[in-house]
Amino acid sequence: MKIGVLCSRIRPEEKLLFQEIRCRGHELVQIDTRKCVFDLQENNFFDVDIILERSISHTHAVYITKILQNRNVPIINNYEVIQNCGDKVITSLLLDKYKVPTTKVRIAFTAKSALDAMDELGYPCVLKPGVGSWGRLISKVESRNAAETILEHKEVLGTYHHSIFYIQEYIDKPGRDIRAFVVGDKTICAIYRASKHWITNTARGGQATNCPVTPGIDKICRDAAKAVDGQIVAIDLFESNNGFIVNEINHTMEFRNSIHTTGVNIPAKMIDYLENVVKKGGLE
């Protein structure tokens, strides 16, 4: 089959996926988002059976998946998943709507009302951009003093999207969090990410070890993926006093540190899923 991969920068993940696609005898069509030009009055853009969305740019992914979906090109993950996962406000809203255990979140639109929200939530609390990744621009706010100055900086220096204040309760986790990988309706594997720093992303130095997928982890991950309509997603979990809770969900998951750690061939599972979707005649 012809598998298109929507991408720009090729990370180790994309390289592994390309290799997997080629070694199964499929035709790989590399679609560089930076070269894409869409005349919206046209309807035929790419001659492929399915597209795997792997764009490092969230913005490119949002626009291109919408354009392609409107023209009936099957794409995984699709526009709705990217919106649901790529915007933490929407993710948290959906997790609450579908009663998937998650952190308390407050949303405000000015530094003043954000400060009120932080006072109400209590300190420490966490401030994040709604759209963002790799632990970038995330602050742990320990006190009202810190809150006042960080909020002022965001409001004065940031563009308009930094005035959507996403405020999250701080979870005292046991020096680690969990990243679990869901493909279709299966939690295929998970890792612990340990760090002395409160931000445990491996991009910021967190150390990965295997985390067995217990029934508890499996259930919350599948529920979380369902809440965002996710097809191939990575769920970040905290171990809290009340059990597992979902922190974030990632739609263009990175897994380079997880294959050897878990012993699970993640790119193979992803391409298995794509093949099944094509064989079944597309997405429902």
Partner: protein
């Protein structure tokens, strides 16, 4: 072996390199993106943007 567009040093590009992949010049530390494979050309990789990630 290809020349680093920043400092001119020799950069090794693996046989399994992909267009769009990023490698580092061991001499000057620049991140370089593989622009083409036949022939192999490199360009300075774009900086990380605020909306990049997973």
């Amino acid at each position: 072996m290809v020349e680093c567009p920043e400092c001119g040093a020799d950069v090794t590009v693996g046989e399994d390199a992909e267009v769009g992949e990023v490698i580092m010049c061991s001499d000057c530390g620049s991140e370089l993106e593989v622009k083409s494979l036949e022939p192999v050309t490199l360009k300075l990789a774009p900086d990380e943007e605020e909306d990049w990630g997973q």
